[in-house]
């Protein structure tokens, strides 16, 4: 009987909440107030009701903490009251306490399964918590109960889009055009879904709504969606629809330059950025993008100058340092890249990314003792960062500090038990040890590789190293099996073709061996071309 009344109350709330997402939370408060006049049968309930009413009043006055306390009192007295549970859940959601809020909604729904508002709120919470499958499940239940629930359709569309189910997203969102058109984020989600489904024209039509209806921010969002979908024409049209005299002129020009950059129109992008800068909108962001346009046009000097200017304008933005360092690294200008990394390390002594980059550059320059120091700092700053831990282990092994590397890897194996790269790295070190006469290391290396493959069955390096070990042991059939897997996974790997040719040669498969050698030579030529530039600055160490 008590449960029935409460369910009725929830239904009332549900109607109030259909008006719109942003008003829902306050509506529930109001609807609860309406319900406060309902007759109940016990004194305990009356006391609980008093707390609940007071809580709602406090919520209306903006005292969420006070409201929360009152509602908790109410629930203490009436723990099985779905209305109280749901109301507190709503309050907590407003206060971003989404986990507890969701628990309360679930309890409320156990008591009142037809409470569509609580279910919708629960779904909204789960969406915000990125728990998409659970959110989807709640919304599907809701839609079974209320197939025309527009808010639920909107929400399911958003959840589906976020979880990569673009087909459902497009179906749901397109079914509630009025709801979608009210919010640029929803329009963007629908357009993004169409792009993903290769329905470019529908995406364009959807986005056109933004240029017709939405504010400039909405247009910028639409342009971003089109840009990301590589529909550069639409992105440009949207951006050009913004009034040049508007407040977003500089942002629009920058975004246009970004679209041109993505469309590989690097010179146009660079010119637009230059005009933007010349017109007085000199920003770090513009110089950063201009740096990339120069980099794409193989003008390393101008690129470096642009990044340096970006750094000067925003010295607190480490990304400019890192971008500059990375392009120098990619061009093989390791010495200058290292200078940049050193400057960044002084400027950002607590940046993992900076010390990671510094360590990587030093390792590439074979300055392993310096690299160890950099990686140690990075791991100190973020012990949970697998990349820098791996970098540290590699640098230690390369510096000949096998005991230190083993210690790092032992710790990493415990900390990152599912990351096969550590097993592979360990195996590589053991293989090196085995080459200098350590038979135990040889056995451990193979065990480590097999363990890596248990975690990641198609880890190329593990397969390759295992194949090579087997080949050297004369276990040619097993070796060829593993190496064949590698060449399938990495058809351009010269070393895999080389090893497989060796295996086939031993199996007397002369033609196959020759074929693999041809593939090796072709891959090697590509490697040489790609690698030629990167050697310019390397010392002979």
């Amino acid at each position: 009987m008590y449960r029935t009344r409460c369910t009725d109350g929830a239904t009332t709330k549900c109607r109030a909440h259909d008006r719109g997402v942003t008003h829902l939370l306050f509506s529930i408060v109001l609807s609860t107030l309406i319900l406060s006049g309902t007759a109940f049968c016990s004194a305990q309930f009356d006391e609980a009701r008093v707390h609940a009413d007071r809580g709602l009043q406090l919520a209306q006055s903006g005292d969420l903490q006070g409201a929360e306390n009152e509602l908790r009192q109410a629930i203490k007295l009436e723990p099985r009251n779905p209305e109280f549970l749901s109301t507190l859940g709503t309050l907590l959601a407003m206060d971003k306490k989404l986990d507890e809020s969701s628990t309360l909604f679930r309890k409320a729904l156990q008591l009142a399964p037809q409470d569509s508002t609580s279910r919708r709120y629960l779904a909204a919470n789960l969406w915000q918590l990125h728990r998409y499958p659970e959110a989807k499940q709640e919304l599907q239940t809701l839609l079974r109960q209320h197939p025309n629930d527009a808010a639920a359709r909107l929400l399911l569309g958003m959840v589906s889009e976020n979880s990569g189910d673009y087909s459902t997203a497009a179906k749901m969102l397109s079914s509630v055009p009025d709801e979608v058109s009210k919010q640029p984020e929803s329009v963007a989600a629908l357009a993004r879904s169409y792009y993903q489904l290769h329905e470019r024209e529908r995406a364009r039509t959807t986005l056109s709504v933004l240029s017709e209806q939405a504010a400039e921010q909405g247009v910028l969002l639409g342009a971003q969606i089109a840009d990301q979908a590589e529909d550069f024409e639409t992105a440009q049209k949207l951006l050009e629809s913004v009034s040049p005299s508007g407040t977003h002129f500089a942002i629009v020009q920058y975004r246009l330059a970004l679209v041109e950059y993505h469309a590989k129109r690097f010179a146009e992008s660079q010119s637009r950025l230059q005009r933007l800068i010349d017109s007085g909108h000199e920003t770090s962001q513009a110089y950063n993008l201009m740096g990339w346009t120069y980099q794409q046009q193989a003008n390393l000097k101008a690129a470096a100058e642009s990044f340096e200017r970006a750094i000067a304008l925003a010295p607190a933005d480490e990304s400019n340092y890192l971008d500059l360092g990375r392009i120098l690294f990619a061009h093989g200008s390791l010495r200058i890249a290292l200078d940049v990394a050193k400057r960044a390390a002084i400027q950002f002594p607590n940046s993992v990314a900076v010390f990671d980059f510094k360590g990587r550059t030093e390792s590439r320059m074979l300055q392993f003792t310096d690299a160890i120091r950099s990686y140690k700092r990075a791991t100190q700053l973020d012990p949970s960062n697998a990349e820098v831990t791996l970098g540290l282990a590699r640098a230690q092994a390369s510096a000949g500090l096998n005991a230190d590397a083993a210690s790092t890897l032992d710790t990493a194996l415990n900390r990152f038990p599912k990351d096969a790269r550590f097993q592979v790295e360990y195996a590589l070190m053991l293989i090196k040890q085995a080459e200098t006469g350590d038979a135990v290391a040889r056995t451990r290396a193979e065990k480590m590789l097999r363990s890596a493959l248990a975690i990641a069955p198609i880890n190329q390096q593990a397969l390759y190293e295992l194949g090579n070990l087997e080949l050297n042991d004369g276990r040619v059939t097993e070796a060829s099996r593993h190496l064949e897997q590698v060449v399938k996974l990495a058809p351009l790997s010269s070393q895999a073709h080389f090893a497989l040719a060796r295996a086939y040669r031993r199996l007397k498969r002369v033609e196959d061996a020759q074929k693999e050698m041809d593939l090796y030579n072709r891959s090697k030529e590509t490697d040489s071309r790609d690698g030629a530039a990167s050697h310019n600055d390397e010392a002979k160490n």
Binding site: Q367, F368, T369, A399, G437, N468, Q495, F498, A539, K540
Partner: protein
């Protein structure tokens, strides 16, 4: 011990003076008895007593030209046919930023036979070269009985003809072997067309210019750039016309297509078809195994032999090379010196491809992980019949120790004892004081400088003095030595295969063209026979001409001169 050494020398010298069958005498009247040194060391450093003071000058400069790190060629040769090995050292040169306070000179140390040497380079006319000197190859190109010198370098090289009177004449221009514009490193004399005349192969390293220094730094300090920053060059092959001139047949032979950073080179008949082949160690370029096609061309079989690259398909930094039958199967095996972390390589030859990479199994990997290797020779230092191995090491970059805990700039010589079947033990601890220090070694040559029947060693050091190491233990075992003189074949008999049967043992040796790193070794062949009771051996010589010559019942512990076709 001292008495024993002296007695052994006396015995060997006496035997050495005798004639047997149609075998001519190789005279020697050395008196190294004054050089007695403490026992229990394999080698004694006799550089100072011998009076060898020459220093290599690399022209080291702030520009860090890679060429500054690559020189130091050395050769053992008997310039005046007095039966005593002399020593020729090639100096480097000045660089734009590395000037010498005095003239830069090569040295030709004449062996005086009393344990002393005298620099006669100036008198001989080989003290000066007008290019940056790198290496040397010794060969009697005109078959006149006197060894000639080919000195490699940049931007040219030079051929010095031995006049037979203690002097040399620079015949480069007339001979047509200047190798202009190239940075020549290694060179080997060999008779690729078997016409009885020594031809010359030259390994060119890389495109280079003093006008365009490459800039690399370590920790802000200028350093030598990696070799891959320099584009490799093709090989040069000169055909001996028989009139003291040569023809460049690089294109005709196909060697001009072999582009890469070539360094050490050795000539030997790898596939036992009677025609000399070549192996070229290359620095971060695939090694070459050039099989002689018997028509003046060569075909690279290094990929099939699996000696071009390491197991990952990457080229190692091949520097020096030598060949010997390490495991006693009668087939030529190869050692190639490489960079640190790459290990020096040991490849066991086989009748069919691929060769077996025994770098790890031989323990060579274990002993060479931290080393940058250059000159290398198999030498049976204890005359037990199994070729041992010596390697000159030394890093490139002075700042390496700032970057690596386990790699040194100055690295010790590596001396490995062959325990049989090509498995090595590090014997540097027993080697003597010379093996206990680090050096920046480069060139290395082996020869029996005191004619006592065991191999001695000379090593050059970058910007330093050289080291002459006298073997103290080989003469304790039995041995037999041969000097071959071709008649139909080239006079140096380069390419000859010598099979010695001593009781149940069959030992195969070759007279190589080239080998080591930019250096040239004693052309005589020493065969260790261990402590066996064998008093005499049988010898089968397969001459480069194809002639087979068998000699029986040759007494041990002496040298024999064998003239082709003479019984």
């Amino acid at each position: 011990m001292k008495r024993k050494i002296n007695a052994s020398r006396v015995r060997s010298h006496a035997l050495f003076a005798g004639l047997a069958l149609a075998i001519a005498l190789v005279g020697a009247s050395t008196a190294f008895t004054a050089l007695a040194v403490p026992s229990k060391e394999l080698f004694a450093d006799i550089t100072q007593e011998a009076g060898i003071t020459w220093r290599q000058f690399s022209g080291e400069s702030p520009d860090r030209f890679l060429i500054e790190t690559m020189g130091g060629g050395v050769a053992f040769l008997d310039v005046d046919n007095d039966g005593l090995l002399d020593i020729f050292f090639v100096n480097g040169g000045e660089t734009p930023g590395g000037k010498s306070p005095g003239p830069i000179k090569n040295a030709l140390y004449r062996n005086l036979g009393n344990g002393k040497f005298e620099d006669v380079a100036s008198k001989a006319g080989v003290d000066h070269i007008d290019f940056y000197g790198i290496g040397v190859a010794v060969g009697d190109f005109d078959n006149d009985g006197f060894p000639d010198l080919y000195v490699t370098g940049f931007p040219t090289s030079a051929l010095f003809h031995n006049n037979g009177n203690g002097t040399f004449t620079d015949v480069t221009a007339h001979a047509g072997v200047k190798n202009s514009g190239r940075w020549a490193a290694g060179a080997a004399w060999f008779d690729y067309d078997r016409d009885g005349l020594l031809d010359l192969v030259v390994t060119n390293y890389a495109e280079f210019s003093f006008d365009q220094p490459k800039k690399c730094e370590v920790n802000g300090v200028r350093s030598y750039c990696a070799q891959v920053a320099y584009k490799g060059m093709p090989l040069t092959l000169y055909h001996n016309n028989g009139d003291r001139t040569f023809t460049d047949v690089s294109a005709r032979s196909g060697l001009d297509k072999m582009i890469g950073r070539g360094l050490g080179v050795v000539a030997i008949d790898f596939n036992d078809d009677g025609w000399p082949d070549l192996f070229v160690a290359r620095d971060a370029s695939p090694n070459l195994l050039l099989i002689n096609k018997r028509d003046g061309t060569f075909e690279d079989a290094a990929l099939d032999a699996e000696i071009a690259y390491n197991a990952n398909g990457n080229a190692k930094a091949g520097m020096g090379v030598d060949v010997a039958d390490v495991n006693g199967d009668g087939l030529p095996d190869l050692v190639v010196t490489n960079f640190n972390d790459q290990y020096h390589s040991l490849f066991m030859g086989s009748a069919s491809f691929p060769y077996q990479d025994r770098t790890v199994a031989s323990h060579l990997a274990q002993f060479s992980k931290a080393d940058v290797g250059w000159g290398t020779k198999f030498l049976d230092y204890d005359n037990d019949g199994n070729p041992d191995l010596i390697i000159a090491n030394g890093h490139i970059n002075q700042s390496i120790e700032l970057m690596r805990e386990d790699v040194k700039y100055q690295e010790p010589l590596l001396l490995l004892h062959n325990e049989g079947q090509g498995v090595f033990r590090n014997s540097a601890q027993e080697g003597g004081p010379a093996f206990n220090s680090g050096y920046i070694s480069r060139g290395l040559a082996v020869g029996d400088v005191d004619n006592d029947g065991d191999p001695d060693v000379v090593i050059t050091r970058l910007n330093g003095t050289s080291m002459l190491l006298r073997n103290k233990v080989g003469q304790d075992s039995n041995w037999v030595g041969f000097e071959l003189q071709g008649t139909k074949s080239n006079r140096d008999a380069i390419g000859a295969k010598i099979t010695v049967t001593a009781g149940a043992r069959r030992l195969v040796r070759w007279i190589l063209g080239g080998s080591s790193y930019i250096s040239s070794s004693d052309k005589r062949v020493l065969v260790g026979l261990g402590h066996s009771q064998v008093k005499a051996v049988d010898v089968d010589v397969l001459w480069p001409s194809g002639t087979r010559q068998e000699l029986s019942n040759l007494q041990v512990n002496r040298y024999f001169k064998i003239v082709e076709g003479t019984q």
